[in-house]
C-alpha cells in the first residue's frame, strides 16, 4: 500500500475489541496496520506481529564507542604529556577504568536516545491526521491503509469488532 496514503481509522473504547479487529483484518489480508494507544501493551505488539525493537543495537554500539573513547582519551593524553604523579605508571589502567566505565554509560545512554528517536521517527513536526487526541487519553485507534473501494469492507470489519467510530484519514 505504499502508493496510497488513504485509509480508515477505527476508534475503540476497549482493548480487546482492538485486538479482535486486528485479527479480523489480518485474516482478510490487510497489512501495515497501525495501532494508536494511550498505553503500551504487549498484546498489541503480539497481534501486530512486530519484530523486536533494534534500539538495543544502538545501545551496544554506544557502549562500545564509549569504552573505546575512554581508553583512547585516558591513555593517549597521558602519553602525550608524560607527567609522573604519585609514583604511579604513566598508563595506570585501574584508575582509567573508572573513566572508561563512565563514558561507556554516557555514550550508551546517548545512543539509546538517538536510537529511539531514529526508529520511532521522532521528533515529528506534523501529527498524522489519523491521530485523535483521545488516543492519548482513553481510546484505542487502528489505522488501516486501504483504497476507497475497500472502505465499505474495512468499515464493516472495524465496526463488527466493536469500533464506535470509523473515519477516513490519510497517514
Amino acid at each position: 500500500m505504499a502508493e496510497s496514503n488513504s485509509g480508515l481509522v477505527g476508534s475503540f473504547p476497549h482493548l480487546d475489541s482492538l485486538l479482535h479487529a486486528i485479527e479480523n483484518l489480518k485474516k482478510t489480508g490487510y497489512r501495515e496496520l497501525q495501532a494508536l494507544s494511550p498505553i503500551p501493551h504487549h498484546a498489541i505488539d503480539a497481534a501486530l506481529e512486530k519484530p523486536t525493537s533494534p534500539v538495543r543495537v544502538f545501545t551496544l554500539i554506544g557502549c562500545l564507542l564509549g569504552s573505546i573513547t575512554g581508553f583512547v582519551l585516558t591513555i593517549a593524553t597521558s602519553l602525550h604529556y608524560p607527567l609522573i604523579t604519585g609514583g604511579k605508571p604513566i598508563v595506570s589502567i585501574p584508575p582509567f577504568l573508572i573513566i572508561v566505565f563512565e563514558l561507556t554509560i554516557l555514550f550508551g545512554g546517548l545512543l539509546t536516545l538517538g536510537g529511539m528517536l531514529w526508529n520511532a521517527r521522532l521528533p515529528r513536526v506534523h501529527i498524522v491526521p489519523a491521530y485523535n487526541p483521545r488516543f492519548s487519553e482513553d481510546r484505542f485507534g487502528l489505522w488501516v491503509p486501504c483504497d476507497e473501494k475497500e472502505f465499505d469492507e474495512v468499515t464493516r470489519l472495524l465496526e463488527s469488532a466493536g469500533a464506535e467510530q470509523v473515519t477516513p484519514a490519510t497517514r
Partner: protein, 441 residues
Amino acid sequence: MSQLTYSQVDHDILSAMKSPGRRYYLLLLADVLVLAWGIYAWRYQIVHGLGVSGLTHPVMWAIYITNFVFWVGIAHSGTLISAILYLFRVRWRAGIYRTAEAVTVFALFTAGLFPIIHLGRPWFFYWLLPYPQVGGLWVNFRSPLVWDVFAVMTYMIISMLFFFTGLVPDMAVVRNRTSGWRHKIYAFMAQGWQGSDRQWRHYKAAYLFLAALATPLVISVHSVVSWDFAQTIVPGWHSTIFAPYFVAGAIHSGLAMVITLLIPLRKVFRLDAYLTQGHLEYLAKLIILTGLIVGYSYMVETYIAWYSNNIPEWQHFTYQITGEYAVPFWIMILFNSLVPLLFFLKPIRTSTPWLFGIAILINIGMWMERFVIIVTSLAHEYDPNSWGLYFPTWVDISITAGSFAWFFFWLLLFAKFLPVVSIVEVKEELPPPVVTKEGVT
C-alpha cells in the same frame, strides 16, 4: 486504584497543573528571596576571596563539600525508584517515580554547583575538563577529583535523558489539553508523540535500556564520590568500606527526602488515590533496610579502627565521639541508624506525621554524617601541631540555605508545570478497559 478510569486519571493528575493560588506565589517568593540572599553571599565570597568562609587550615574542605556529597546522595533515591525498581518490575513505583526522578535531576543541579562554589576562582572550573590547550597539558586521570567530574556529569546527563524520555508520552496528553503558548511548549516537549505502536515499541526498549544503564551508574557515582575521601591517607577517610557505605547512606537520605516531599504534594494536589499510604509505607520499609546498612557501617568502621591497633586511626574515632564535634556525631548516630528503627512498628510507619517527622530527622542526620566525616577527619590528622577547628561563617550558612532554596525553586516549578505523577505509568497499572469478562493478559 482499580476503580479509576483512564480519563479520570488524566483529569486528576492534570488538575494539579491548574493556575496556582496565592499561597503558591508566596512560597515561591520566599524561596526566591532566600535564593537571592545565597547568590549575594556567593558574590561576596567571589569578590573577597574564600577567606570570608569558615575554611581555614587544616579544614580546607568543609560545608561546601558536605553539601556536595549530601545533594549527590539525595539524587540517588530517584534513580533507585525510577530505574532499579523498574528493572525489578516493582508495581508500586508508578505513582511516585516521576517526583523521585525530578528530585534526582534537581539535586544534581544543586550538587554540581558546590565544587564550583568551593573554587577560589570559579571561572576556571573548566580546567577540570579534558580539552586540548596550548601547553599540551591534560587533566590527571589518576586523580579522584577528575573521576568525580566524569561520574557526576554522566549521572546528570543520563538522569535528564531518563526524566525527559519518561515525560514524552505524558507531554502528549498535556499538549492535547492546552492551548496558546502553553500548547506550543508542551507540543515541543511531546516531540510529535501520537502513541503509535511503532513509537511505543522503540520507546519501551529505550526506556528499559536507559534503566539498565542508570542502575550500575548510580552505584558508581557515590562510590566515586566516596573515593574522593578514601583515596587519601587521612585517618577516618582511608577505608575500603567507604564505597558501599556511601551508596547505602545516599539512598537512605534520598528516600527520606522523597517522603518529605511526597507528603505535602499528596496533600496539596489531593492525589491520595495515586500516592497512597501504601507507597509511603513501602518507602519506610526501604528506609529500615538502608538505615540498618548505615548503622552496620558505623559499627564496622569503628570496630576496624580499634582492631587495626593503628594509633592515628583510633584517636580519630575517639575524637569523633568525644571531641568538639561530638554533638553532630551523636545526632548522626541517633537520627540515621536508631530513629529509623521505629519504622519496624506498623502504627508508626503508617502514620503521616511520624513518617514526615522521621524523614526530616534522617535528612538532618545524613547532612550531619557528611559534615562529621569531612570536618572531623581534617581537624585531627596525624600531627597534633596542625590540629584545628572549623566553624561556618554567615557566608557558608547563607550559601547552604541558598542551595536548599535553589533545589526547592526547581521543585516548585516542576509541581506546577509538569505532571507530578506519570499519567501513562498509572494507566498501565490499571486493568485495560475490556468488553469480555476474562480481559486481556
